[in-house]
């Protein structure tokens, strides 16, 4: 009986996870997608996905990792779908301006860096965000993205080289 209780207690508490990590996951998603509303969608879908699979989640210590992985994957799927839609609608749709929550308050230096990052391939951008914002190790990034550590290293290296070319000359 006592053991059953502990098993139940060890189930991932999604409500607490949501309360604690919702905002940081929205911020992570916002670094990966175009606008805040989409970022919220991404995070909501990630939580709902975990909710549907909650019976398979038995390790509270790993829950944040699962959640982060879900957010990154969901963000990537969203961008992929959006690119497809935009490619098909390009003829009929006028150019879209910056999102409503564009970084109007950010400094010029930050905007410049973020613009350069936005031009990177999705995978490279994900690696950089997880490395320099989430501060994950190569192994953790590999786990989050479902790729090898070697790929993480090479993607990061290419990304940094590209950024260095774009921004390096302007480095202060």
């Amino acid at each position: 009986m006592a053991e059953a209780s502990s098993v139940t207690e060890e189930n991932v508490d999604l409500a607490a996870l949501y309360e604690t990590h919702h905002l940081s996951m929205v911020r992570l998603a916002r670094l990966l997608v175009d606008d805040l509303a989409t970022a919220e969608d991404v995070v909501q879908d990630a939580f709902l996905g975990m909710h549907r699979r909650r019976d398979g989640l038995r390790d509270p210590g790993a829950a944040v990792g699962y959640l982060r992985r879900a957010v990154v994957n969901q963000a990537r799927s969203t961008l992929r779908r959006r690119r497809t839609v935009r490619a098909h609608l390009r003829v009929a749709e006028p150019d879209v301006g910056p999102p409503a929550d564009a970084e109007v308050l950010l400094g010029e230096e930050h905007r410049e860096v973020l613009a350069a990052v936005d031009e990177l391939p999705t995978r490279q951008r994900e690696v950089l965000v997880l490395r320099y914002w989430s501060e994950l190790s190569e192994a953790e990034i590999a786990d989050a993205l479902g790729i090898s550590r070697g790929t993480v290293k090479s993607q990061a290296s290419r990304a940094m080289a590209t950024l260095s070319n774009k921004l390096g000359g302007e480095a202060r």
Partner: protein
């Protein structure tokens, strides 16, 4: 050069991320989802009782040689998971699974995005199936302490235990913050409310309401403790293996503490 680029990336990401404040998030949707998650958190406790019956029924079915092969139970019912996981050593082939093999039928779009936890974290002994009848229902979400405060081995630990606020549930820090795997302590003024926002990897983020107050305090408190100031908002710990950043965006002030490997 690379260090400079890394610093610029960190600062740009941090600035963009912290520009999103809680007030910008769609409140109604957030509340709905929180309620949904809180509601379903209670569900397993009810269904655990049913889980016993289901497990007994499965065992009985096996006992008389009756195999239900086409039954498709609802994938979201915890009772199924309880049966499949707890009795897996006896009847793995007859207990339906709610893991990746069946879940995609429910929602194709979301499925690729949630990974399965390692198998090593599952399968408690069959003897643990008894329902926690005396266990009270899960408490309301708002009253639960943040999960980050429950970790037994956090990235950082406090010199004194963080104190949960009765008003907002946040865990406020009292005194300096010890940065784990090292001997560094981050000076924090007791007079300025500061609480743990989240922890990811080797990074801990704290929220505080007074950026200028923290910055001023650090100017006087950091140097005597061996911290060196890299920029107006960045400090390096005495060990050289941890850093503290201060960032402010849209009225929210965040302290990011990054520890090296």
């Amino acid at each position: 050069m690379t260090d400079d680029l890394e610093r610029r990336l960190r600062e740009a990401f941090e600035a963009k991320a912290t520009s999103i404040t809680p007030s910008m998030v769609e409140v109604d949707r957030e509340r709905e989802l929180a309620d949904e998650l809180a509601h379903t958190q209670r569900a397993p406790r009810h269904w655990m009782v049913g889980g016993l019956s289901a497990a007994a029924a499965v065992a009985a079915a096996i006992g008389i040689g009756f195999i239900v092969s086409n039954q498709q139970p609802p994938t979201h019912e915890p009772v199924v998971a309880a049966s499949s996981q707890h009795s897996s050593t006896q009847t793995p082939e007859t207990t339906p699974s709610t893991t990746s093999s069946s879940a995609p039928q429910q929602n194709q779009l979301a499925q690729p995005n949630v990974q399965q936890p390692p198998a090593t974290t599952q399968a408690p002994p069959a003897t643990t199936l008894a329902p926690p009848i005396s266990t009270p229902p899960a408490v309301k979400t708002a009253t639960r302490p943040p999960a980050v405060a429950k970790r037994s081995t956090p990235t950082t630990t406090q010199t004194s235990e963080p104190t949960p606020s009765k008003s907002d549930g946040n865990y406020y820090l009292r005194g300096d913050l010890k940065i784990a795997a090292g001997t560094d302590y981050l000076p924090l003024p007791g007079a300025i409310p500061t609480y743990i926002q989240d922890e990811t990897g080797r990074t801990t983020r704290l929220s505080t309401g007074d950026c200028a107050g923290i910055a001023a305090y650090w100017t006087t408190a950091m140097p005597p403790q061996g911290w060196t100031q890299d920029s107006a908002l960045k400090w390096t710990a005495p060990s050289g293996n941890a850093w503290a950043f201060l960032s402010k965006a849209s009225g929210a002030c965040t302290i990011q503490i990054s520890a090296g490997p």
